[in-house]
């Protein structure tokens, strides 16, 4: 089995994190990672980016829009 290079590794990260990388590629990925501080850094940055995406401020429904929804629900119920 040929070694995974950096270029291949960065393209495989999402599959790696999702656990969908075939077992042989997963081993090549891990072997490369053990020997490459740059890819280790890149992977860490991808993980941090993903985590930060999940902590952005959420949009909230305005009070008026919420009220309109409750009215729509009553209309639907009495249909």
């Amino acid at each position: 089995m040929n070694e995974m290079d950096c270029k291949e590794l960065v393209e495989a990260i999402t599959a790696y994190l999702d656990g969908t990388l075939p077992a042989a590629d997963r081993r090549r990925f891990n072997t490369h990672l053990e020997n490459c501080p740059y890819c280790t850094e890149y992977l860490a940055q991808m993980r941090k980016t993903i985590a930060r995406l999940g902590t952005l401020d959420e949009s909230t429904l305005s009070h008026d829009a919420r009220e309109r929804l409750l009215v729509a629900f009553r209309d639907w119920r009495t249909g």
């Binding site: 990260i13 999702d18 969908t20 850094e41 949009s59 429904l61 829009a65 929804l69 729509a72």
Partner: protein, 211 residues
């Protein structure tokens, strides 16, 4: 058929029985996610709220047909996608087509890597990723960089990264909501994440240079 999540079954029964409290609770729980998803397809807070209203009416009208093949939340998010997409198509006639363009550029600048025929390090980093300044990612500026990078993604990539990374859906839920294959979903997610990371890298490089 898979069994309904028990909370879903309880909620569904309450909604079908016309329990307004149960409805309000679901609205409060799901609206932030629904709004975020609607904004992938439509512009402006007011239109996003109208889209939500329309989506909820579709949800109520279809409650009897919900079979529990997915969770209630995933099913509702799928309805938001359909309603918002239809609205967005309407809207996009007057929008620049860049946001709808497909994406066929390489994901990472090929110059970041050494050529495949390099004698010592083929396919290895030519310009390695530099460590990010400590705490830079937690700043409001970084959040803004991320928002802008996401806004510039092609629409389907934006939808996938919104569902997976911002809303926290699983791959399967995302595929269901967007009617994508698992492999396609993953390719789109990877492209989107790669571009957001690259935007952060560029912003942090500039910050370092200024500091």
């Amino acid at each position: 058929m898979p069994r309904l999540e028990s909370t879903d079954a309880v909620r569904l029964a309450a909604l079908r029985a016309g329990d307004e409290h149960a409805f309000a609770e679901l609205v409060d729980e799901l609206s932030p996610r629904m709004l975020r998803l609607a904004r992938v397809y439509v512009t402006g807070a007011a239109i996003a709220e109208d889209t939500l209203q329309e989506a909820w009416i579709v949800v109520l009208g279809s409650l009897d047909r919900f079979e529990g093949r997915s969770s209630l939340a995933t099913w509702i998010l799928g309805i938001v996608v359909n309603v918002a997409r239809a609205r967005g198509r309407h809207e996009s006639r007057s929008r620049p087509f860049s946001s709808l363009s497909t994406d066929d550029q390489p994901i990472i600048d090929p110059d970041r890597f050494l050529p495949p025929d390099h004698e010592r390090w083929p396919g290895h980093w030519a310009i390695a990723p530099a460590p990010w300044p400590e705490h830079a990612l937690e700043t409001a500026e970084a959040a803004q960089v991320i928002r802008e990078a996401v806004a510039q993604l092609p629409q389907t990539q934006r939808a996938v990264i919104t569902l997976r990374d911002m809303i926290g859906c699983t791959a399967e839920e995302t595929c269901n909501a967007l009617a994508l294959s698992d492999a396609n979903q993953r390719v789109l997610l990877h492209r989107a994440r790669t571009k957001v990371r690259a935007a952060l890298e560029q912003a942090f490089d500039t910050m370092e240079a200024l500091a």
